[in-house]
């Protein structure tokens, strides 16, 4: 197909990543891109025998499809859904991400049942948002089953993954009392001294995260699938995961 031909001809793989999604992808102290997504993308390119060029467009531009040959691949921590599949392809799943409930340090909540009367902070237009609305569109075959909340809490939706944490940090219940967030993000927040904690031993849900390509080149998709598969098989991906997350995120089990 067109994409594969181009990549092989130019010996270059144009990969879109995020730069604001630690620890998946971010700028390190030398102001270079680093993180799990970056290492994974580099590894894919290495196995294809080409060089990588990173671009950082908006999430929406990537998930909207119609890349017009601007980019070849997205290693963007995107979760496959049925709706998204209309515009883009998901040739391979490369890790699983778990979502947890985060509360203020002073909170007395021990289980999710204790969160019945608190206001939730959620990043809008994410799987977390879908989860809160009981409207997950995940392909259930690849993930273990999960339970929706059996109550409907009050909710504030934000346009960024950071703002819920900023609001939670103001105090327990000052604006919000709980956040539903990616575990890696929550851990990062705790590491940087945010006065928050996770509800222990409770994973809201586990979502698969896929490599993304534009529509229109099945050969390229197949090639990516084989490459990722080989990375999984020989443990390279696991090693990368352990490097960045301190655990193996490549298996469909809650960490």
């Amino acid at each position: 197909g067109v994409v594969l031909d181009r990549v092989e001809k130019t010996k270059q793989l144009v990969v879109t990543v995020s730069a604001k999604w630690p620890p998946h992808a971010f700028l390190n102290d030398k102001h270079e891109l680093a993180g799990f997504d970056i290492d994974a993308a580099n590894e894919i390119a290495k196995r294809m025998g080409v060089k990588v060029k990173f671009e950082t467009p908006d999430f929406k531009l990537v998930t909207g499809g119609h890349w017009n040959n601007r980019w070849d691949l997205a290693v963007f921590s995107i979760t496959p859904t049925k709706a998204r599949a209309r515009n883009i392809n998901f040739p391979a799943i490369y890790y699983y991400s778990s979502y947890v409930f985060v509360v203020h340090k002073d909170s007395k909540a021990k289980t999710r049942e204790d969160l019945k009367n608190v206001t939730f902070g959620v990043e809008g237009d994410t799987t977390a948002d879908d989860y809160m609305h009981h409207a997950m569109q995940l392909d259930m075959s690849t993930v273990p089953p999960f339970k929706y909340l059996d109550f409907t809490p009050k909710m504030i939706t934000y346009k960024s993954s950071m703002l819920p944490f900023e609001d939670l940090r103001l105090g327990d219940g000052v604006r919000i009392g709980a956040v539903i967030a990616e575990k890696a993000t929550a851990e990062n927040a705790i590491k940087h001294g945010y006065p928050v904690k996770m509800i222990p031993n409770d994973t809201a849900f586990l979502e698969p995260v896929a490599i993304v390509t534009d529509k229109g080149d099945p050969e390229f998709d197949k090639k990516i699938a084989t490459v990722v598969d080989s990375m999984k098989k020989d443990g390279t991906l696991k090693a990368i995961s352990e490097k960045w997350y301190g655990a193996d995120y490549t298996q469909a089990t809650p960490q």
């Binding site: 929406k60 998930t63 909207g64 709706a83 998204r84 209309r86 515009n87 809008g124 237009d125 504030i156 939706t157 934000y158 346009k159 960024s160 703002l163 900023e166 609001d167 103001l170 000052v174 604006r175």
Partner: protein
């Protein structure tokens, strides 16, 4: 108006020009957009290479397009200005529509969502903007007068305010207000935070406009009013501001329209205004382009409304066009 139209037109001319124009446009559409097979056939006969076929077809389309454009220009020159403007508008509108058509948007999806976008999204946008505009207007007036006053403290306060709130990005202002005020003990809700930030920011912009407007009124007006014994406040209200309005209105219109759209920034703190609603709806079913275009159209309609209001007010306060 110094640039007047000295030409005189005959009715018959107008009629023929419009008819010829319509025929030309019709032909172009039929042969260059709807039904281009004759073109590829023609090119194919001389060369079989498909890349070349495409290139030549495009070339022919462009050449005819430019010819049509020129013919359009000349034909329109023959008719009165009013109709010229109308036809140009219509043509551009159709062109815009054609451009949009290349995106192959799902009209049914748009129609199913547009109601909610207006009742929830556009309504919130309008009401947040309207309140902010009102407050910004009051702030701007006070600040402008303070900047021109003889009191150094007032000048200092007003200048600092203008500089700071013009200088900081609105988004950052919203963040700082939303996250900073709680540190001082005021918990502020998303909508009030958004309105405060919008008012402060646009108040700063508009105070510059007001200041310039007030400064532009000739000294003679102040002198004549002073000599009549009027006080500063009354001079400002009765003599200076009504005249300054002529100069103030157009840039104020700009800022009102800009604010309408900047109000979308308040969605970061969770206000469901038009942009937010459109992107949420679009994301859910992955029809972002549809929602973007619909939101754009709604914004455009709102801003056209503001434009019309502006031109009405402008006509009222500009004696030259009275």
């Amino acid at each position: 108006m110094p640039l007047t139209n000295r030409k005189k037109y005959k009715k018959a001319n107008t009629f023929y020009a419009v008819v010829v124009l319509a025929i030309l446009i019709g032909l172009y559409f039929y042969f260059c957009i709807e039904n281009t097979s004759w073109l590829s056939d023609l090119v194919k006969q001389s060369s079989g290479d498909p890349g070349r076929v495409k290139f030549y077809s495009t070339l022919v389309k462009w050449v005819f397009g430019v010819a049509l454009f020129i013919a359009n220009f000349f034909l329109l020159g023959k008719i009165p200005k009013r109709i010229q403007i109308l036809i140009t508008f219509a043509e551009l509108f159709v062109l815009l529509g054609l451009f949009m058509a290349t995106f192959q948007l799902s009209l049914t999806f748009i129609l199913s969502k547009v109601g909610y976008m207006i009742t929830q999204g556009a309504f919130t946008t309008l009401y947040v903007s309207a309140i902010s505009i009102f407050i910004a207007f009051c702030i701007a007036l006070v600040t402008a007068i303070a900047r021109l006053s003889s009191n150094g403290v007032a000048v200092g306060l007003a200048t600092f305010y203008t500089s700071l709130f013009r200088g900081l990005p609105l988004l950052i202002q919203i963040f700082i207000l939303y996250l900073g005020l709680p540190q001082l003990g005021f918990i502020i809700n998303p909508i009030p935070a958004g309105i405060t930030a919008l008012s402060l920011c646009y108040g700063a912009y508009m105070s510059e406009v007001f200041r310039a407007g007030i400064q532009s009124i000739p000294k003679g007006q102040w002198e004549a009013s002073k000599a009549l014994g009027l006080h500063k406040r009354k001079i400002m209200r009765l003599v200076i501001l009504p005249q300054a309005l002529k100069i103030i209105i157009p840039p104020t219109g700009n800022h009102f329209i800009a604010m309408l759209k900047d109000s979308s920034l308040v969605s970061v703190v969770g206000v469901w205004e038009l942009t937010y609603v459109s992107s949420t709806l679009g994301n859910r079913e992955f029809r972002n382009m549809e929602m973007l275009v619909t939101a754009a159209a709604i914004y455009w309609i709102m801003s056209i409304t503001l434009e019309i209001i502006q031109s009405r007010i402008e006509r009222k306060y500009n004696p030259a066009t009275r």
